[in-house]
Symmetry: C2
Subunit: 198 residues, 2 copies
DNA sequence: GTCTATACCGGGATAGAC
DNA sequence: GTCTATCCCGGTATAGAC
């Protein structure tokens, strides 16, 4: 995603690439349409030939991400996973972290967009609860099997999700700040594991 | 902070109150200067008699918060606290949560402002690391005493901070979504405690 | 489809009367 | 200090030539 001398074949693709570049560098909210077109070496007007607005572009990128991430993100994910098992918990943390890392521009943009998106006070919570639905289901599965959890599944799932997304947003945008993915994934797993075991 | 029929004695105070009202309702970024003046039943121009900009107002509110919160927030906080002790950890979680709750408008505004504030990619991380300095020092204190932590103090502190602030922002803006402070504080404490004990 | 030029507008900020 | 009226700018979006 560095500086490309050769023009991309399609302007659509060039705009998407440029947008991703800019979202990481400047953040989504700080990126202007003209920043994107300039980075793509295209005229301002061309943007609107392909997208109706910046939000429209973001939704397109979001779809691209879901499509390429396949079922692991959007698809149905079996609820019968045991998060009190070190291996399984680590796998979930790793999957989330790596997805964020591999789709950082879109993750960053969605994170920021969610803040401005809804004016209603409850919007952020709704968003967080929705985004951690799978996690919540895993916890409910455990609870229904008689396991003792540190708190209500929805709450604990939201807390874990806030941790993941907040840390990911900050740390990954900073290029990891010299930390390996391994270190982060292991640290988060170790921090959460014992608490989930109750 | 409800609808006040009587005009506040001072316009300065009225603007601050109105701003806090609006920040919770609309979010900081979505609040226009005119939203604030209208809510305070003052003219647009009056705003600039008291503040140079919206950010200037936020800084004033931030100072108010620090002043009234006293040393517990801004002041020096002894590093020799044992976060692996259930009572002490709970006290820290409770203090953070209650501070967020009691200063929700400012917390919301600062949270959003931090996103737009710095354009540099590393800004958010810097911010998070700074905001969890005290927590990090507690963890370093433990490590230096030979305690085994789930990961690097700065990383773990940042993770805990992201969880607290992310959850606080979302849940408190939603009015708690029917949850008591107790439930949240107990849940977070239970989730983190065992992991910190190693 | 892409370009240049420009219209348009929200919203921050100011001028000047009271 | 507060008001009304207005300016002004950044940024989105469009018009129309190529």
């Amino acid at each position: 995603m560095g500086v490309r001398k050769e023009r991309s074949a399609s302007t659509l693709a060039a705009l998407k690439e440029a947008a991703k570049e800019q979202f990481v560098e400047r953040g989504y909210l700080n990126t202007k349409i003209t920043d994107i077109t300039r980075a793509a070496s295209r005229a301002t007007g061309s943007f609107y030939e392909h997208f109706g607005s910046k939000d429209d572009l973001l939704r397109a990128l979001e779809q691209d991400m879901y499509r390429q991430a396949g079922e692991s993100l959007s698809g149905q994910h079996p609820a019968d996973h045991d998060l009190t098992d070190a291996v399984q918990l680590r796998a979930h943390v790793a999957a989330a972290w790596e997805t964020m890392r591999d789709n950082l521009p879109v993750v960053v943009a969605l994170h920021e967009s969610a803040i401005v998106g809804g004016s209603e006070p409850a919007y952020a919570w709704q968003n967080l609860a929705d985004g951690t639905r799978v996690l919540r289901e895993h916890l409910e599965f455990l609870r229904d099997r008689g396991h003792h959890l540190p708190g209500d599944p929805e709450l604990i799932a939201a807390a874990m999700g806030a941790m993941l997304s907040g840390l990911g947003y900050a740390l990954l945008r900073a290029g990891g700040a010299g930390r390996s993915d391994e270190e982060v994934i292991d640290g988060l797993t170790a921090l959460l594991l014992a608490g989930l075991q109750g």
